[in-house]
Symmetry: D2
Subunit: 150 residues, 4 copies
Protein backbone atom coordinates (compact mmCIF):
# COMPACT_ATOMS: atom_id res chain seq x y z
CA UNK A 1 0.00 0.00 0.00
CA UNK A 2 1.18 3.46 -0.83
CA UNK A 3 1.33 5.75 2.18
CA UNK A 4 0.91 9.48 2.13
CA UNK A 5 3.23 10.96 -0.40
CA UNK A 6 5.05 14.04 0.76
CA UNK A 7 5.45 16.99 -1.54
CA UNK A 8 8.72 16.19 -3.19
CA UNK A 9 10.24 17.36 -6.44
CA UNK A 10 10.81 14.76 -9.14
CA UNK A 11 13.61 15.51 -11.57
CA UNK A 12 14.57 14.03 -14.90
CA UNK A 13 17.41 14.95 -17.25
CA UNK A 14 17.46 14.62 -21.04
CA UNK A 15 20.28 15.24 -23.48
CA UNK A 16 19.88 17.42 -26.57
CA UNK A 17 22.35 18.06 -29.39
CA UNK A 18 21.98 21.61 -30.79
CA UNK A 19 21.03 21.64 -34.48
CA UNK A 20 22.19 24.12 -37.12
CA UNK A 21 18.52 24.97 -37.70
CA UNK A 22 18.27 26.16 -34.10
CA UNK A 23 21.02 28.76 -34.36
CA UNK A 24 20.60 32.31 -35.66
CA UNK A 25 22.89 34.86 -37.27
CA UNK A 26 24.22 35.84 -33.83
CA UNK A 27 25.93 32.42 -33.94
CA UNK A 28 23.99 31.11 -30.95
CA UNK A 29 20.74 29.23 -30.29
CA UNK A 30 17.73 31.45 -31.10
CA UNK A 31 15.81 32.53 -27.99
CA UNK A 32 12.53 30.94 -29.11
CA UNK A 33 14.10 27.48 -29.43
CA UNK A 34 14.44 27.16 -25.68
CA UNK A 35 10.70 26.59 -25.38
CA UNK A 36 11.15 23.60 -27.68
CA UNK A 37 14.04 22.40 -25.49
CA UNK A 38 11.72 22.72 -22.49
CA UNK A 39 9.15 20.64 -24.40
CA UNK A 40 11.69 17.88 -25.00
CA UNK A 41 12.73 17.92 -21.35
CA UNK A 42 9.08 17.80 -20.25
CA UNK A 43 8.15 14.97 -22.63
CA UNK A 44 11.07 12.81 -21.55
CA UNK A 45 10.45 13.57 -17.87
CA UNK A 46 6.81 12.45 -18.10
CA UNK A 47 7.94 9.33 -19.94
CA UNK A 48 10.56 8.74 -17.25
CA UNK A 49 7.89 9.03 -14.56
CA UNK A 50 5.87 6.33 -16.31
CA UNK A 51 3.35 8.52 -18.08
CA UNK A 52 4.18 9.21 -21.73
CA UNK A 53 2.46 12.37 -22.94
CA UNK A 54 1.02 10.56 -26.00
CA UNK A 55 -0.85 8.31 -23.52
CA UNK A 56 -2.43 11.35 -21.91
CA UNK A 57 -3.55 12.55 -25.34
CA UNK A 58 -5.00 9.13 -26.13
CA UNK A 59 -6.99 9.32 -22.88
CA UNK A 60 -8.51 12.57 -24.14
CA UNK A 61 -6.42 15.19 -22.36
CA UNK A 62 -4.22 18.01 -23.54
CA UNK A 63 -1.76 20.04 -21.53
CA UNK A 64 -1.57 23.45 -23.24
CA UNK A 65 1.01 25.91 -21.97
CA UNK A 66 -0.63 28.88 -20.27
CA UNK A 67 2.54 30.61 -19.13
CA UNK A 68 6.23 30.35 -19.99
CA UNK A 69 9.35 31.99 -18.64
CA UNK A 70 12.98 31.74 -19.72
CA UNK A 71 16.06 33.32 -18.18
CA UNK A 72 19.00 33.14 -20.58
CA UNK A 73 22.26 32.88 -18.63
CA UNK A 74 24.88 31.92 -21.23
CA UNK A 75 24.71 31.33 -24.99
CA UNK A 76 24.45 27.82 -26.42
CA UNK A 77 26.22 26.97 -29.67
CA UNK A 78 25.81 24.67 -32.64
CA UNK A 79 26.56 21.02 -31.87
CA UNK A 80 26.62 21.64 -28.10
CA UNK A 81 25.35 18.80 -25.98
CA UNK A 82 22.84 20.31 -23.56
CA UNK A 83 21.31 18.69 -20.51
CA UNK A 84 17.71 19.68 -19.89
CA UNK A 85 16.48 18.87 -16.40
CA UNK A 86 12.74 19.07 -15.72
CA UNK A 87 11.44 19.42 -12.18
CA UNK A 88 7.88 18.37 -11.36
CA UNK A 89 6.25 18.57 -7.95
CA UNK A 90 4.38 15.52 -6.66
CA UNK A 91 1.77 17.88 -5.27
CA UNK A 92 -1.26 17.60 -7.55
CA UNK A 93 -2.82 20.97 -8.31
CA UNK A 94 -5.30 22.42 -10.78
CA UNK A 95 -2.46 23.54 -13.01
CA UNK A 96 0.88 21.85 -13.57
CA UNK A 97 4.08 23.85 -13.11
CA UNK A 98 7.30 22.43 -14.51
CA UNK A 99 10.67 24.04 -13.91
CA UNK A 100 13.68 23.62 -16.15
CA UNK A 101 17.44 23.93 -15.99
CA UNK A 102 19.53 23.75 -19.15
CA UNK A 103 23.23 23.11 -18.73
CA UNK A 104 26.30 22.51 -20.88
CA UNK A 105 28.60 20.58 -18.57
CA UNK A 106 28.87 22.85 -15.53
CA UNK A 107 27.66 26.01 -17.26
CA UNK A 108 24.07 27.07 -16.69
CA UNK A 109 22.66 28.00 -20.09
CA UNK A 110 19.08 28.80 -19.11
CA UNK A 111 16.44 28.40 -16.43
CA UNK A 112 12.72 28.75 -16.63
CA UNK A 113 9.31 27.26 -16.19
CA UNK A 114 6.08 26.47 -17.99
CA UNK A 115 2.61 26.32 -16.45
CA UNK A 116 0.05 24.01 -18.02
CA UNK A 117 -3.65 23.53 -17.64
CA UNK A 118 -5.36 20.17 -18.05
CA UNK A 119 -8.09 20.31 -20.68
CA UNK A 120 -10.39 17.81 -22.40
CA UNK A 121 -9.24 17.48 -26.00
CA UNK A 122 -12.79 17.22 -27.35
CA UNK A 123 -13.82 20.69 -26.22
CA UNK A 124 -10.70 22.30 -24.71
CA UNK A 125 -12.63 22.76 -21.44
CA UNK A 126 -10.70 22.63 -18.15
CA UNK A 127 -10.31 19.15 -16.68
CA UNK A 128 -9.21 17.83 -13.32
CA UNK A 129 -5.73 16.29 -13.38
CA UNK A 130 -6.35 12.86 -15.01
CA UNK A 131 -6.29 9.77 -12.79
CA UNK A 132 -3.49 8.21 -14.83
CA UNK A 133 -1.38 11.30 -14.20
CA UNK A 134 -2.08 11.28 -10.45
CA UNK A 135 -1.38 7.54 -10.27
CA UNK A 136 1.88 7.77 -12.19
CA UNK A 137 3.19 10.62 -10.04
CA UNK A 138 2.11 8.82 -6.87
CA UNK A 139 3.64 5.51 -7.90
CA UNK A 140 6.88 7.04 -9.10
CA UNK A 141 7.31 9.19 -6.02
CA UNK A 142 6.54 6.33 -3.64
CA UNK A 143 9.33 4.38 -5.28
CA UNK A 144 11.62 7.36 -4.87
CA UNK A 145 10.57 7.58 -1.23
CA UNK A 146 11.42 3.97 -0.66
CA UNK A 147 14.82 4.45 -2.20
CA UNK A 148 15.42 7.52 -0.11
CA UNK A 149 14.30 5.78 3.05
CA UNK A 150 16.07 2.53 2.19
CA UNK B 1 -21.06 31.42 -69.69
CA UNK B 2 -17.46 30.43 -69.30
CA UNK B 3 -15.91 29.05 -72.47
CA UNK B 4 -13.20 26.42 -72.64
CA UNK B 5 -10.31 27.49 -70.53
CA UNK B 6 -6.91 27.01 -72.08
CA UNK B 7 -4.05 25.63 -70.02
CA UNK B 8 -2.51 28.80 -68.74
CA UNK B 9 -0.27 29.48 -65.78
CA UNK B 10 -1.65 31.65 -63.01
CA UNK B 11 0.89 33.58 -60.99
CA UNK B 12 0.71 35.43 -57.70
CA UNK B 13 3.41 37.28 -55.78
CA UNK B 14 3.64 37.73 -52.01
CA UNK B 15 6.09 39.74 -49.97
CA UNK B 16 7.95 38.30 -46.98
CA UNK B 17 10.28 40.05 -44.53
CA UNK B 18 13.04 37.68 -43.30
CA UNK B 19 12.94 37.13 -39.53
CA UNK B 20 15.92 36.69 -37.21
CA UNK B 21 14.48 33.31 -36.23
CA UNK B 22 14.84 32.18 -39.85
CA UNK B 23 18.58 32.81 -40.08
CA UNK B 24 21.29 30.40 -38.96
CA UNK B 25 24.87 30.78 -37.79
CA UNK B 26 26.04 31.04 -41.41
CA UNK B 27 24.35 34.47 -41.31
CA UNK B 28 21.79 33.55 -43.97
CA UNK B 29 18.29 32.07 -44.10
CA UNK B 30 18.36 28.38 -43.07
CA UNK B 31 17.70 26.02 -46.00
CA UNK B 32 14.62 24.43 -44.39
CA UNK B 33 12.84 27.79 -44.06
CA UNK B 34 12.35 28.04 -47.80
CA UNK B 35 9.64 25.39 -47.61
CA UNK B 36 7.81 27.69 -45.22
CA UNK B 37 8.31 30.59 -47.65
CA UNK B 38 6.83 28.37 -50.38
CA UNK B 39 3.88 27.70 -48.04
CA UNK B 40 3.26 31.42 -47.59
CA UNK B 41 3.48 31.99 -51.34
CA UNK B 42 1.08 29.11 -51.97
CA UNK B 43 -1.44 30.21 -49.34
CA UNK B 44 -1.55 33.76 -50.62
CA UNK B 45 -1.75 32.61 -54.25
CA UNK B 46 -4.78 30.40 -53.51
CA UNK B 47 -6.38 33.30 -51.63
CA UNK B 48 -5.60 35.57 -54.57
CA UNK B 49 -7.29 33.11 -56.94
CA UNK B 50 -10.42 33.25 -54.80
CA UNK B 51 -9.99 30.02 -52.87
CA UNK B 52 -8.48 30.49 -49.40
CA UNK B 53 -6.85 27.27 -48.18
CA UNK B 54 -8.79 27.41 -44.87
CA UNK B 55 -11.96 27.16 -46.96
CA UNK B 56 -10.69 23.96 -48.56
CA UNK B 57 -10.01 22.55 -45.10
CA UNK B 58 -13.49 23.51 -43.94
CA UNK B 59 -14.91 21.62 -46.91
CA UNK B 60 -13.09 18.52 -45.68
CA UNK B 61 -9.98 18.51 -47.85
CA UNK B 62 -6.29 18.61 -47.13
CA UNK B 63 -3.44 19.22 -49.54
CA UNK B 64 -0.42 17.41 -48.06
CA UNK B 65 2.93 17.90 -49.77
CA UNK B 66 4.11 14.69 -51.45
CA UNK B 67 7.23 16.09 -53.08
CA UNK B 68 9.32 19.23 -52.65
CA UNK B 69 12.32 20.64 -54.45
CA UNK B 70 14.41 23.75 -53.80
CA UNK B 71 17.30 25.16 -55.79
CA UNK B 72 19.20 27.76 -53.76
CA UNK B 73 20.70 30.39 -56.07
CA UNK B 74 21.81 33.19 -53.74
CA UNK B 75 21.69 33.64 -49.97
CA UNK B 76 18.91 35.64 -48.30
CA UNK B 77 19.68 37.76 -45.25
CA UNK B 78 17.96 39.00 -42.11
CA UNK B 79 15.41 41.76 -42.75
CA UNK B 80 15.51 41.20 -46.53
CA UNK B 81 12.23 41.77 -48.31
CA UNK B 82 11.66 38.73 -50.50
CA UNK B 83 9.09 38.31 -53.24
CA UNK B 84 7.66 34.82 -53.48
CA UNK B 85 5.87 34.11 -56.74
CA UNK B 86 3.74 30.97 -56.98
CA UNK B 87 2.79 29.53 -60.38
CA UNK B 88 -0.27 27.29 -60.68
CA UNK B 89 -1.49 25.69 -63.88
CA UNK B 90 -5.18 25.96 -64.74
CA UNK B 91 -5.06 22.37 -65.96
CA UNK B 92 -6.77 20.27 -63.28
CA UNK B 93 -4.93 17.04 -62.57
CA UNK B 94 -4.96 14.33 -59.91
CA UNK B 95 -2.10 16.06 -58.11
CA UNK B 96 -1.38 19.76 -57.85
CA UNK B 97 2.06 21.05 -58.81
CA UNK B 98 3.00 24.54 -57.72
CA UNK B 99 6.22 26.23 -58.82
CA UNK B 100 7.95 29.02 -56.94
CA UNK B 101 10.40 31.79 -57.56
CA UNK B 102 11.89 33.75 -54.68
CA UNK B 103 13.54 37.06 -55.49
CA UNK B 104 15.13 40.00 -53.71
CA UNK B 105 14.71 42.85 -56.15
CA UNK B 106 16.29 41.50 -59.34
CA UNK B 107 18.29 38.75 -57.67
CA UNK B 108 16.91 35.23 -57.86
CA UNK B 109 17.23 33.72 -54.39
CA UNK B 110 15.63 30.33 -54.96
CA UNK B 111 13.41 28.34 -57.28
CA UNK B 112 11.51 25.15 -56.66
CA UNK B 113 8.24 23.33 -56.62
CA UNK B 114 5.91 21.34 -54.39
CA UNK B 115 3.54 18.59 -55.47
CA UNK B 116 0.36 18.05 -53.48
CA UNK B 117 -2.28 15.37 -53.38
CA UNK B 118 -5.91 16.09 -52.54
CA UNK B 119 -7.11 13.97 -49.62
CA UNK B 120 -10.26 13.77 -47.49
CA UNK B 121 -9.39 15.09 -44.04
CA UNK B 122 -11.56 12.50 -42.26
CA UNK B 123 -9.55 9.51 -43.47
CA UNK B 124 -6.61 10.93 -45.43
CA UNK B 125 -7.77 8.93 -48.48
CA UNK B 126 -7.13 10.36 -51.96
CA UNK B 127 -9.83 12.69 -53.26
CA UNK B 128 -10.64 14.16 -56.63
CA UNK B 129 -9.79 17.86 -56.89
CA UNK B 130 -12.69 19.52 -55.00
CA UNK B 131 -15.36 21.29 -57.01
CA UNK B 132 -14.69 24.58 -55.23
CA UNK B 133 -11.05 24.35 -56.31
CA UNK B 134 -11.95 23.59 -59.91
CA UNK B 135 -14.51 26.39 -59.97
CA UNK B 136 -12.17 28.95 -58.48
CA UNK B 137 -9.38 28.14 -60.94
CA UNK B 138 -11.85 28.19 -63.85
CA UNK B 139 -13.44 31.47 -62.79
CA UNK B 140 -10.14 33.19 -62.10
CA UNK B 141 -8.54 32.05 -65.35
CA UNK B 142 -11.57 33.03 -67.44
CA UNK B 143 -11.27 36.53 -65.99
CA UNK B 144 -7.60 36.52 -66.88
CA UNK B 145 -8.48 35.34 -70.37
CA UNK B 146 -10.92 38.17 -70.79
CA UNK B 147 -8.35 40.64 -69.69
CA UNK B 148 -5.78 39.16 -72.04
CA UNK B 149 -8.22 39.13 -74.93
CA UNK B 150 -9.60 42.54 -74.08
CA UNK C 1 16.38 72.02 -29.08
CA UNK C 2 14.76 69.05 -27.52
CA UNK C 3 13.72 69.58 -23.94
CA UNK C 4 13.69 66.98 -21.19
CA UNK C 5 11.79 63.95 -22.38
CA UNK C 6 9.40 62.50 -19.87
CA UNK C 7 9.24 58.77 -19.34
CA UNK C 8 6.53 57.81 -21.78
CA UNK C 9 5.70 54.51 -23.40
CA UNK C 10 6.04 54.27 -27.16
CA UNK C 11 3.84 51.72 -28.87
CA UNK C 12 3.87 50.21 -32.33
CA UNK C 13 1.57 47.59 -33.84
CA UNK C 14 2.46 45.06 -36.55
CA UNK C 15 0.24 42.59 -38.35
CA UNK C 16 1.14 38.89 -38.69
CA UNK C 17 -0.67 36.18 -40.64
CA UNK C 18 -0.35 32.77 -38.90
CA UNK C 19 1.44 30.17 -41.04
CA UNK C 20 0.69 26.46 -41.21
CA UNK C 21 4.29 25.83 -40.13
CA UNK C 22 3.55 27.65 -36.87
CA UNK C 23 0.70 25.39 -35.81
CA UNK C 24 1.05 22.09 -33.97
CA UNK C 25 -1.05 18.94 -33.71
CA UNK C 26 -3.27 20.63 -31.10
CA UNK C 27 -4.52 22.70 -34.03
CA UNK C 28 -3.22 25.97 -32.60
CA UNK C 29 -0.06 28.06 -32.76
CA UNK C 30 2.81 26.27 -30.96
CA UNK C 31 3.81 27.98 -27.72
CA UNK C 32 7.41 28.59 -28.80
CA UNK C 33 6.34 30.56 -31.90
CA UNK C 34 5.15 33.45 -29.78
CA UNK C 35 8.75 34.46 -29.12
CA UNK C 36 9.17 34.78 -32.87
CA UNK C 37 5.99 36.88 -33.01
CA UNK C 38 7.48 39.08 -30.28
CA UNK C 39 10.63 39.37 -32.41
CA UNK C 40 8.60 40.56 -35.40
CA UNK C 41 6.74 43.07 -33.24
CA UNK C 42 10.01 44.34 -31.76
CA UNK C 43 11.78 44.63 -35.13
CA UNK C 44 8.94 46.58 -36.67
CA UNK C 45 8.59 48.79 -33.59
CA UNK C 46 12.26 49.76 -33.70
CA UNK C 47 11.94 50.43 -37.42
CA UNK C 48 8.84 52.52 -36.72
CA UNK C 49 10.76 54.55 -34.13
CA UNK C 50 13.38 55.34 -36.75
CA UNK C 51 16.02 52.82 -35.71
CA UNK C 52 16.00 49.63 -37.77
CA UNK C 53 17.63 46.78 -35.86
CA UNK C 54 19.93 45.94 -38.81
CA UNK C 55 21.37 49.46 -38.40
CA UNK C 56 22.21 48.73 -34.78
CA UNK C 57 23.97 45.55 -35.88
CA UNK C 58 25.93 47.46 -38.53
CA UNK C 59 27.08 49.88 -35.83
CA UNK C 60 28.51 46.91 -33.93
CA UNK C 61 25.80 46.19 -31.39
CA UNK C 62 23.64 43.19 -30.61
CA UNK C 63 20.56 43.00 -28.41
CA UNK C 64 20.45 39.42 -27.12
CA UNK C 65 17.39 38.40 -25.12
CA UNK C 66 18.26 37.76 -21.47
CA UNK C 67 14.75 37.09 -20.21
CA UNK C 68 11.43 36.25 -21.85
CA UNK C 69 7.91 35.79 -20.52
CA UNK C 70 4.68 34.80 -22.26
CA UNK C 71 1.17 34.53 -20.86
CA UNK C 72 -1.09 32.60 -23.23
CA UNK C 73 -4.67 33.85 -22.93
CA UNK C 74 -6.48 32.34 -25.92
CA UNK C 75 -5.36 30.04 -28.75
CA UNK C 76 -4.41 31.43 -32.15
CA UNK C 77 -5.27 29.49 -35.28
CA UNK C 78 -3.93 28.95 -38.79
CA UNK C 79 -4.45 31.93 -41.11
CA UNK C 80 -5.47 34.22 -38.23
CA UNK C 81 -4.45 37.82 -38.59
CA UNK C 82 -2.75 38.80 -35.36
CA UNK C 83 -1.81 42.26 -34.19
CA UNK C 84 1.41 42.42 -32.21
CA UNK C 85 1.86 45.62 -30.25
CA UNK C 86 5.29 46.35 -28.77
CA UNK C 87 5.67 48.84 -25.92
CA UNK C 88 9.04 50.50 -25.32
CA UNK C 89 9.79 53.00 -22.59
CA UNK C 90 11.63 56.20 -23.51
CA UNK C 91 13.58 55.90 -20.29
CA UNK C 92 17.05 54.73 -21.27
CA UNK C 93 18.39 52.05 -18.94
CA UNK C 94 21.22 49.53 -18.90
CA UNK C 95 18.86 46.87 -20.20
CA UNK C 96 15.94 47.26 -22.57
CA UNK C 97 12.53 45.89 -21.58
CA UNK C 98 9.92 45.51 -24.29
CA UNK C 99 6.34 44.51 -23.53
CA UNK C 100 4.00 42.85 -25.99
CA UNK C 101 0.32 42.37 -26.56
CA UNK C 102 -0.94 39.98 -29.22
CA UNK C 103 -4.56 40.34 -30.29
CA UNK C 104 -6.96 38.90 -32.85
CA UNK C 105 -9.53 41.62 -33.30
CA UNK C 106 -10.74 42.26 -29.74
CA UNK C 107 -9.50 38.97 -28.30
CA UNK C 108 -6.27 39.04 -26.31
CA UNK C 109 -4.19 36.08 -27.49
CA UNK C 110 -1.05 36.62 -25.43
CA UNK C 111 0.90 39.10 -23.37
CA UNK C 112 4.52 39.10 -22.35
CA UNK C 113 7.86 40.80 -22.35
CA UNK C 114 11.49 40.37 -23.31
CA UNK C 115 14.49 41.94 -21.61
CA UNK C 116 17.57 42.65 -23.70
CA UNK C 117 21.12 43.64 -22.92
CA UNK C 118 23.21 45.81 -25.24
CA UNK C 119 26.47 44.09 -26.18
CA UNK C 120 29.35 44.80 -28.58
CA UNK C 121 29.12 42.29 -31.42
CA UNK C 122 32.90 41.86 -31.64
CA UNK C 123 33.28 40.42 -28.15
CA UNK C 124 29.75 40.08 -26.75
CA UNK C 125 30.78 42.35 -23.83
CA UNK C 126 28.14 44.60 -22.26
CA UNK C 127 27.78 48.00 -23.92
CA UNK C 128 26.07 51.22 -22.97
CA UNK C 129 22.89 51.88 -24.93
CA UNK C 130 24.23 53.10 -28.31
CA UNK C 131 23.98 56.79 -29.12
CA UNK C 132 21.91 56.11 -32.23
CA UNK C 133 19.40 54.23 -30.08
CA UNK C 134 19.19 57.04 -27.51
CA UNK C 135 18.85 59.65 -30.25
CA UNK C 136 16.14 57.77 -32.10
CA UNK C 137 14.08 57.25 -28.95
CA UNK C 138 14.56 60.89 -27.93
CA UNK C 139 13.65 62.24 -31.36
CA UNK C 140 10.65 59.98 -31.78
CA UNK C 141 9.28 60.71 -28.33
CA UNK C 142 9.77 64.47 -28.69
CA UNK C 143 7.66 64.33 -31.82
CA UNK C 144 5.04 62.37 -29.91
CA UNK C 145 5.20 64.96 -27.15
CA UNK C 146 4.63 67.77 -29.60
CA UNK C 147 1.67 65.98 -31.01
CA UNK C 148 0.27 65.36 -27.57
CA UNK C 149 0.84 68.96 -26.52
CA UNK C 150 -0.30 70.34 -29.87
CA UNK D 1 49.61 2.99 -46.86
CA UNK D 2 46.11 3.33 -48.15
CA UNK D 3 45.57 1.78 -51.58
CA UNK D 4 43.18 2.99 -54.24
CA UNK D 5 39.74 3.44 -52.76
CA UNK D 6 36.90 2.26 -54.92
CA UNK D 7 33.76 4.36 -55.27
CA UNK D 8 31.60 2.96 -52.51
CA UNK D 9 28.66 4.40 -50.64
CA UNK D 10 29.09 5.06 -46.93
CA UNK D 11 25.94 4.96 -44.83
CA UNK D 12 25.17 6.09 -41.31
CA UNK D 13 21.89 5.93 -39.38
CA UNK D 14 20.74 8.34 -36.66
CA UNK D 15 17.68 8.19 -34.45
CA UNK D 16 15.31 11.14 -34.00
CA UNK D 17 12.30 11.48 -31.70
CA UNK D 18 9.59 13.68 -33.25
CA UNK D 19 8.85 16.80 -31.18
CA UNK D 20 5.47 18.45 -30.70
CA UNK D 21 6.98 21.62 -32.18
CA UNK D 22 7.60 19.75 -35.42
CA UNK D 23 3.98 18.76 -35.99
CA UNK D 24 1.35 20.92 -37.66
CA UNK D 25 -2.44 21.16 -37.47
CA UNK D 26 -2.73 18.24 -39.91
CA UNK D 27 -1.49 16.13 -36.97
CA UNK D 28 1.72 15.11 -38.74
CA UNK D 29 5.28 16.39 -39.08
CA UNK D 30 5.36 19.64 -41.11
CA UNK D 31 6.93 19.21 -44.55
CA UNK D 32 9.68 21.76 -43.93
CA UNK D 33 10.97 19.90 -40.87
CA UNK D 34 12.32 17.09 -43.00
CA UNK D 35 15.17 19.31 -44.15
CA UNK D 36 16.13 19.66 -40.50
CA UNK D 37 15.92 15.87 -40.10
CA UNK D 38 18.22 15.57 -43.12
CA UNK D 39 20.59 18.02 -41.40
CA UNK D 40 20.70 15.88 -38.26
CA UNK D 41 21.33 12.73 -40.33
CA UNK D 42 24.10 14.50 -42.27
CA UNK D 43 25.77 15.92 -39.16
CA UNK D 44 25.82 12.58 -37.39
CA UNK D 45 27.01 10.77 -40.54
CA UNK D 46 29.98 13.13 -40.93
CA UNK D 47 30.77 12.66 -37.24
CA UNK D 48 30.50 8.90 -37.69
CA UNK D 49 32.93 9.05 -40.60
CA UNK D 50 35.45 10.83 -38.38
CA UNK D 51 34.88 14.38 -39.57
CA UNK D 52 32.59 16.43 -37.34
CA UNK D 53 31.07 19.33 -39.26
CA UNK D 54 32.11 21.84 -36.56
CA UNK D 55 35.74 20.83 -37.34
CA UNK D 56 35.21 21.73 -40.99
CA UNK D 57 33.87 25.11 -39.94
CA UNK D 58 36.86 25.67 -37.65
CA UNK D 59 39.15 24.96 -40.62
CA UNK D 60 37.41 27.77 -42.51
CA UNK D 61 34.93 25.90 -44.66
CA UNK D 62 31.16 25.95 -44.99
CA UNK D 63 28.91 23.49 -46.79
CA UNK D 64 25.83 25.48 -47.83
CA UNK D 65 22.95 23.56 -49.38
CA UNK D 66 22.54 24.41 -53.07
CA UNK D 67 19.77 21.95 -53.86
CA UNK D 68 17.32 19.90 -51.79
CA UNK D 69 14.70 17.32 -52.66
CA UNK D 70 12.21 15.46 -50.48
CA UNK D 71 9.74 12.75 -51.45
CA UNK D 72 7.14 12.26 -48.70
CA UNK D 73 5.97 8.63 -48.63
CA UNK D 74 4.07 8.29 -45.35
CA UNK D 75 3.23 10.73 -42.55
CA UNK D 76 5.31 10.86 -39.36
CA UNK D 77 3.64 11.53 -36.03
CA UNK D 78 4.42 13.13 -32.69
CA UNK D 79 6.74 11.05 -30.50
CA UNK D 80 7.62 8.69 -33.38
CA UNK D 81 11.14 7.34 -33.36
CA UNK D 82 12.53 7.91 -36.84
CA UNK D 83 15.71 6.48 -38.31
CA UNK D 84 17.50 8.84 -40.67
CA UNK D 85 20.09 7.15 -42.87
CA UNK D 86 22.53 9.33 -44.80
CA UNK D 87 24.39 7.97 -47.81
CA UNK D 88 27.65 9.59 -48.91
CA UNK D 89 29.76 8.50 -51.85
CA UNK D 90 33.52 8.09 -51.33
CA UNK D 91 34.07 9.63 -54.75
CA UNK D 92 35.30 13.16 -54.14
CA UNK D 93 33.68 15.70 -56.43
CA UNK D 94 33.38 19.47 -56.67
CA UNK D 95 29.99 19.31 -54.94
CA UNK D 96 28.85 16.90 -52.26
CA UNK D 97 25.62 14.95 -52.76
CA UNK D 98 24.07 13.26 -49.74
CA UNK D 99 21.06 10.98 -50.02
CA UNK D 100 18.65 10.26 -47.19
CA UNK D 101 16.15 7.66 -46.17
CA UNK D 102 13.81 8.26 -43.21
CA UNK D 103 12.08 5.23 -41.74
CA UNK D 104 9.80 4.35 -38.84
CA UNK D 105 10.49 0.69 -38.24
CA UNK D 106 9.85 -0.87 -41.66
CA UNK D 107 7.82 2.03 -43.04
CA UNK D 108 9.55 4.43 -45.39
CA UNK D 109 8.58 7.94 -44.31
CA UNK D 110 10.62 9.99 -46.77
CA UNK D 111 13.52 9.92 -49.19
CA UNK D 112 15.55 12.72 -50.64
CA UNK D 113 18.88 14.35 -51.14
CA UNK D 114 20.81 17.56 -50.58
CA UNK D 115 23.64 18.90 -52.73
CA UNK D 116 26.29 21.05 -51.07
CA UNK D 117 29.11 23.22 -52.34
CA UNK D 118 32.33 23.71 -50.39
CA UNK D 119 33.02 27.39 -49.76
CA UNK D 120 35.58 29.40 -47.79
CA UNK D 121 33.81 30.90 -44.79
CA UNK D 122 35.75 34.18 -45.00
CA UNK D 123 34.41 35.15 -48.41
CA UNK D 124 31.87 32.46 -49.36
CA UNK D 125 33.94 31.73 -52.51
CA UNK D 126 33.98 28.18 -53.88
CA UNK D 127 36.65 25.94 -52.40
CA UNK D 128 38.09 22.56 -53.34
CA UNK D 129 36.94 19.77 -51.02
CA UNK D 130 39.12 20.31 -47.92
CA UNK D 131 42.02 17.92 -47.31
CA UNK D 132 40.60 16.89 -43.92
CA UNK D 133 37.36 15.88 -45.64
CA UNK D 134 39.16 13.87 -48.32
CA UNK D 135 41.38 12.20 -45.72
CA UNK D 136 38.47 11.29 -43.45
CA UNK D 137 36.46 9.76 -46.29
CA UNK D 138 39.54 7.89 -47.55
CA UNK D 139 40.49 6.57 -44.12
CA UNK D 140 36.96 5.56 -43.21
CA UNK D 141 36.32 3.81 -46.52
CA UNK D 142 39.64 1.96 -46.42
CA UNK D 143 38.65 0.59 -43.02
CA UNK D 144 35.32 -0.45 -44.47
CA UNK D 145 37.14 -2.08 -47.36
CA UNK D 146 39.35 -4.06 -45.00
CA UNK D 147 36.34 -5.24 -43.11
CA UNK D 148 34.60 -6.22 -46.30
CA UNK D 149 37.70 -8.04 -47.57
CA UNK D 150 38.53 -9.56 -44.18
Amino acid sequence: MIGKVEDIILRHTTQIRVRYAETDKMGVVYNGEYLTFFEVGRTEALRGFGLPYPELEKEGYLLPVIEAFVKYKAPAFYDDILHVTAFISTKIEATLTIKYLIEREKTTIAEGYTIHSFVHSVNMKPARPPKSYRNAIELYSSQINHVMKG
